[in-house]
C-alpha cells in the first residue's frame, strides 16, 4: 500500500508498540505519558501503573542521583543523552540492566515540553563492562598495595631492625653523597663514631638478649642527646654514628664529651646495675670536599686511636698537613706491596638475565685488603694505579684470576658452565699497545672461549682518545671477545660511538637506576638507554639494582640483564660457588 505521495504506508502504531526495545514519552519532569507494549511486558508493570509515574523512580537510588545530577541537565542543555547505563527495577523487584537514550523536545505554543526515551535491555554488555571495571579496580588496588610494600621495604632497608635507628644506607640517604663543607651558615658537618667499650663482655656474660637491650637503650640515650639537625645511626654491632652540624671542632668535641656523659649514667640490665663507657672518634668536614662517607671513615680511624689511648675518651681525626707528593708515594708503595703480597682480591657479582631470572654471568671486581683502611673498592685505588702504570700488572692479574676461576668452574662445577665473565678495562689499559697480546695470552693459557669473556670500558675512557680506542676495540673484537660500555649516561652519552665502536653491550649507570620509581626523569632516561641499545642491536644491562621495584620497572622496559644488591653483592669465590649452586 502507498499513500497519495507514493510512499509506502507504515503502521506506525504497531512499530511503536512492537519495537524490539522500550519506547516512552515523558514530560520534562520525567512523568510517563506514553509507553509501548515491549516496555510494559519487559518490566511486568501494568500500563496504568506506569502512566503518570516518573521514569527515574523505576531506577535504584544510585541511578536516580546520577540521572538527576547528570542526565537531566544534559537533556535540558543539549537536548539529548545517549546510552546511559541504568537499572530498571521491574514489578518483580528484579533489576534489569539497560541502556537509556533520550531526546528532549522543548515546549512550543500549546504543546508542553516532552522527552522521547528508548530503553534497551543490555544484560550482556553491562556484565562485560562490570567485569572490566572490577578488573580495573583490582589492578588499582594491587598497585597501591605494591607501592605501600615498596615504601615499607625502603624504610626497612634504611633502618636498623633492632634499634629503629637509620643504618649506614639510611644515613647516606639522609645526608646525601654530596660533599659537606662549612658553607651553609658557616656550619660544618661532623661525624662522631661511637664504639662501646667492652660490649663483648656484656654479651658473653649476660647473654645476647641483654646485649640487645643494652644497644636499644644506648640508641635511646643517643637519640635523646642529639638535636633535630643531627642524626644517630647504628652501623653494626656496638658501633653508632652521630652526624650533626657543628660550628667548629670545639663544638664537635663538646658534643662528644656530652655523649660520653650521657653514656656514663648507670643502666639496669637483667636486674644488675651496670655502667658502660664508649670511645668516640670525631671527624669534622673541612674545605667542602668531605662526604658523609669520608667523615665516617675518618672518625672510624680516630676511634681506634681513642681505644688505643685507654678508652672512655674521644679523639679528633686531624688530616695530617702533609705533602701530597709524599702521601702519594707512600700510598703507591702500599699498593705495590699489596699486589706483591696478595692483598688484592677479586670478587664476583652475578649478572641476572631478567627474562629467565637466572645468572647469565658474573662481573669481576677487584678489592684491596688494606692493612689499616679495610677492604677498599676499586674507586679508592684504581686512579692511583692508572697514574703510576701499576694498572698494567694489576689488570693482567685480575683478568688471569677471573679466567682461572672460569676454568675451574667449567671443569668442576656444572653450575658455572656457560657463564659469561665480565672484566673491567681502564683507560690506560685500553691505550696500552700490549693489551691485545695480553688478553690473547690469558685466553690461551686458560683455554677460554673468547665469546664468554666480556671487557667493560667506561664511557669516559672511550672518549679520552676515541681514535686509539677504535683501533684497540677492533683488535679485541677480532679475538672474539665481547665489549661493553660501562657507566653509560655519565660521560658524553654520544650516539656516535655506539655506532663507531664495535660494542655488544651497554651498561646503564647505577645513578639512573637508583632514581627508578622515585624520579620520572630517571625512568625516562633508563627507558631511552634501553631503547637505544636495542635500536643498535646490543644488550642493555642495569647496574646497582637494589629494589624489586627497580627490577620490575627494568623488566617492564625490556632491559636484558641486571646486577645489584637485590640479587647478590660482589662475592668472594667460595660464596659465589654457593650462590651459583643455590640459584641454579
Amino acid at each position: 500500500m502507498t499513500d497519495t505521495a507514493g510512499r509506502p504506508v507504515v503502521n506506525f502504531e504497531a512499530l511503536f508498540h512492537q519495537a524490539p526495545c522500550g519506547y516512552l514519552v515523558t514530560d520534562d519532569g520525567g512523568r510517563i505519558a506514553a509507553v509501548n507494549d515491549t516496555f510494559v511486558r519487559w518490566t511486568g508493570y501494568s500500563r496504568t501503573t506506569l502512566l503518570g509515574t516518573k521514569l527515574q523512580f523505576l531506577m535504584p537510588v544510585g541511578d536516580q542521583i546520577l540521572y538527576a545530577t547528570h542526565c537531566i541537565p544534559q537533556l535540558g542543555i543539549t537536548g539529548s543523552v545517549s546510552e546511559i547505563a541504568v537499572d530498571i527495577v521491574g514489578a518483580d523487584h528484579i533489576r534489569r540492566p539497560a541502556l537509556l537514550s533520550a531526546s528532549r523536545f522543548a515546549a512550543a505554543g500549546q504543546e508542553s515540553g516532552s522527552i522521547r526515551v528508548i530503553i534497551f535491555s543490555a544484560h550482556e554488555r553491562r556484565l562485560y563492562e562490570t567485569e572490566l571495571v572490577s578488573a580495573l579496580r583490582a589492578a588499582e588496588e594491587s598497585d597501591a598495595k605494591r607501592a605501600l610494600a615498596e615504601q615499607e621495604l625502603r624504610r626497612l632497608a634504611l633502618h636498623d631492625a633492632l634499634t629503629g635507628l637509620p643504618n649506614r644506607a639510611g644515613l647516606k640517604a639522609r645526608f646525601g653523597a654530596a660533599p659537606h663543607g662549612g658553607t651553609r651558615e658557616r656550619k660544618s658537618l661532623a661525624a662522631l663514631f661511637i664504639d662501646l667499650d667492652h660490649f663483648k663482655a656484656v654479651n658473653d656474660s649476660l647473654g645476647h638478649s641483654a646485649g640487645d637491650n643494652l644497644l636499644v637503650s644506648v640508641a635511646g640515650r643517643l637519640a635523646a642527646a642529639v638535636q633535630a639537625s643531627g642524626a644517630v645511626a647504628r652501623l653494626s654491632g656496638d658501633e653508632f654514628v652521630v652526624v650533626d652540624e657543628v660550628a667548629g671542632t670545639d663544638d664537635a668535641t663538646a658534643l662528644a664529651a656530652s655523649l660520653l656523659d650521657v653514656m656514663a649514667a648507670p643502666m639496669h640490665l637483667e636486674g644488675l646495675e651496670i655502667v658502660i663507657s664508649a670511645s668516640i672518634g670525631i671527624a669534622v668536614a673541612q674545605g667542602g670536599d668531605d662526604t658523609v662517607e669520608d667523615l665516617i671513615r675518618r672518625a672510624d680511624i680516630a676511634v681506634y686511636r681513642a681505644k688505643e689511648r685507654g678508652r672512655n675518651r674521644w679523639e679528633l681525626h686531624r688530616p695530617a698537613p702533609s705533602d701530597p707528593a709524599v702521601d702519594r708515594l707512600r700510598a703507591l708503595g702500599e699498593l705495590r706491596r699489596g699486589i706483591g703480597e696478595g692483598a688484592l682480591r677479586v670478587h664476583y657479582q652475578p649478572r641476572i638475565d631478567l627474562r629467565t631470572g637466572r645468572a647469565s654471568g658474573v662481573e669481576a671486581l677487584v678489592r684491596w685488603q688494606h692493612p689499616t683502611r679495610g677492604l677498599l673498592p676499586p674507586s679508592e685505588f684504581i686512579a692511583m694505579a692508572e697514574e703510576s702504570g701499576l694498572v698494567r700488572p694489576l689488570g693482567a692479574w685480575v683478568l688471569d684470576e677471573t679466567l682461572k676461576l672460569a676454568e675451574s668452574l667449567r671443569r668442576n662445577d656444572h653450575h658455572g658452565a656457560g657463564l659469561e665473565f665480565a672484566v673491567n678495562l681502564s683507560a690506560r689499559q685500553l691505550n696500552d699497545p700490549g693489551l691485545v697480546d695480553m688478553v690473547e695470552g690469558a685466553l690461551e693459557r686458560r683455554s677460554m672461549d673468547p665469546a664468554l669473556l666480556l671487557l667493560e670500558i667506561t664511557e669516559t675512557a672511550l672518549m679520552s682518545d676515541p681514535g686509539a680506542a677504535v683501533e684497540s676495540l677492533n683488535a679485541l673484537k677480532n679475538l672474539g671477545v665481547g665489549l661493553a660500555v660501562d657507566d653509560f649516561g655519565t660521560g658524553y652519552s654520544s650516539l656516535m660511538y655506539l655506532k663507531k665502536f664495535p660494542v655488544n653491550e651497554l651498561k646503564i649507570d647505577r645513578s639512573f637506576i637508583m632514581g627508578l620509581g622515585l624520579d620520572t626523569g630517571d625512568g625516562a632516561i633508563v627507558g631511552s638507554c634501553i631503547d637505544l641499545a636495542h635500536a643498535v642491536g646490543i644488550r642493555a644491562v642495569a647496574e646497582g639494582v637494589e629494589t624489586s621495584g627497580q627490577a620490575q620497572a627494568l623488566q617492564d622496559m625490556g632491559c636484558d640483564l641486571a646486577q645489584g644488591y637485590l640479587f647478590a653483592r660482589p662475592l668472594p669465590v667460595p660464596q659465589l660457588r654457593e650462590w651459583l649452586a643455590s640459584h641454579a
Binding site: 519532569g29 546520577l66 541537565p73 542543555i77 539529548s80 531526546s103
Partner: protein, 276 residues
C-alpha cells in the same frame, strides 16, 4: 598564600570563562556534582547584559586541568573552596555574588566563612549540607549510606560513558540544532576515577557546622520534588543560616537553572535588586 597564583594559572586549572558586562557587578557561578560550567548556559543570558559573569569548572570536571587533581586536597569540600577563593584573588574580584548549585552551595558557604569580605551575596541553588540521614540527631538528608554505595555502583556502570574516548555518539536532536555535536559529546564529561572520588566527598560530607559561621546575605532557592534536596533540607538550611532568605520555586527537579531558567533568574534578580 592566597593570591599567589597568577590569573593565567588559575584560568588554566579551572577553565575560567569571563562573559557579560566588563564593568558590571561580578557574578561567579559554581556548578554542582556531575556537571560542568555548561550547565549554566540557559541561565547566563539573563545576567550577561548587566553583570560580569565568571564561570569555571571544578578541577576534575569539564575542561579543567586534570593534572591538578590532588586526591588529598580534593578529599574535602575545603579544597574546592580554596579554588573558589583563588579564582577571586587571581581575577581580583570584589563584592562577588557567588551562585553555587547543589554541593557548590556548600562550597560557597565554606569560601564565604573563610573570606567574608570577598562576597556581597550568596545564591544557594538546591543546597544540602548533608545528603545522608544522621540517626544520632534525627537529621533527614534523604539518603542512606547504602544509597550512596549504590551511586558509586551506578558510576562504575557508566565508567565507559564518562571516559571521553569511548563516548557514544549522540544521534542529535532535531528540536535543538543550535547545540553543536561537540557540546553533546563533551557535555559534563569527566574522568571516571575523579567522578567517583568527588561523589564520595560530595555525598558523604557533612557541612552543617559551617552554616552558623556565615554572616553573608544569602538566598536559598528550593525546588519542589527535588530528590537531592527535599523541602525539609531547605528549611533546615534557612533556620541555621543567619541573614538567609528562602524562596520556593514553582519547578520540579534538582536543576531549576536548566529546567526553568526564566523563573530562576527572576528570583535571583528580584533578590539581588532588592537592596543595592
Amino acid at each position: 598564600m592566597l593570591g599567589a597564583l597568577t590569573a593565567e594559572a588559575v584560568a588554566k586549572r579551572n577553565n575560567v570563562t569571563v562573559l557579560g558586562r566588563a564593568d558590571g557587578p561580578v557574578m561567579l557561578f559554581a556548578h554542582g556534582y556531575g556537571c560542568d560550567q555548561d550547565m549554566w548556559r540557559r541561565l547566563v543570558p539573563y545576567f550577561a547584559a548587566d553583570y560580569q559573569v565568571v564561570l569555571f569548572d571544578h578541577v576534575g570536571a569539564g575542561h579543567s586541568d586534570l593534572d591538578a587533581y590532588d586526591r588529598e586536597k580534593y578529599g574535602t569540600l575545603d579544597g574546592y573552596a580554596t579554588d573558589v577563593l583563588e579564582i577571586c584573588a587571581a581575577l581580583d574580584l570584589a563584592d562577588v555574588i557567588l551562585v553555587g548549585h547543589s554541593v557548590s552551595a556548600m562550597i560557597a558557604l565554606i569560601a564565604a566563612a573563610r573570606e567574608p569580605e570577598r562576597f556581597a551575596r550568596l545564591i544557594l541553588v538546591a543546597p544540602s549540607p548533608r545528603y545522608t540521614n544522621d540517626a544520632d540527631d534525627g537529621y533527614v538528608g534523604g539518603f542512606s549510606h547504602e544509597d550512596i554505595e549504590g551511586l558509586l555502583k551506578s558510576l562504575d556502570s557508566n565508567y565507559f560513558a564518562w571516559a571521553e574516548a569511548l563516548a557514544p555518539m549522540a544521534m542529535g536532536n532535531p528540536d535543538s540544532p543550535e547545540y553543536a555535536e561537540e557540546l553533546r559529546s563533551s557535555f559534563c564529561r569527566t574522568n571516571p576515577s575523579i567522578a567517583r572520588h568527588f561523589a564520595r566527598v560530595t555525598f558523604l560530607s557533612d557541612s552543617r557546622s559551617i552554616l552558623d559561621r556565615v554572616q553573608c546575605d544569602s538566598l536559598i532557592l528550593q525546588c519542589s520534588d527535588d530528590l537531592l534536596a527535599p523541602p525539609e533540607v531547605g528549611t533546615y538550611v534557612h533556620q541555621h543560616l543567619g541573614h538567609s532568605t528562602l524562596v520556593h520555586l514553582q519547578t520540579t527537579g534538582h536543576c531549576p537553572h536548566v529546567s526553568a531558567p526564566e523563573a530562576t533568574a527572576g528570583a535571583i534578580l528580584q533578590y539581588i535588586g532588592r537592596r543595592p
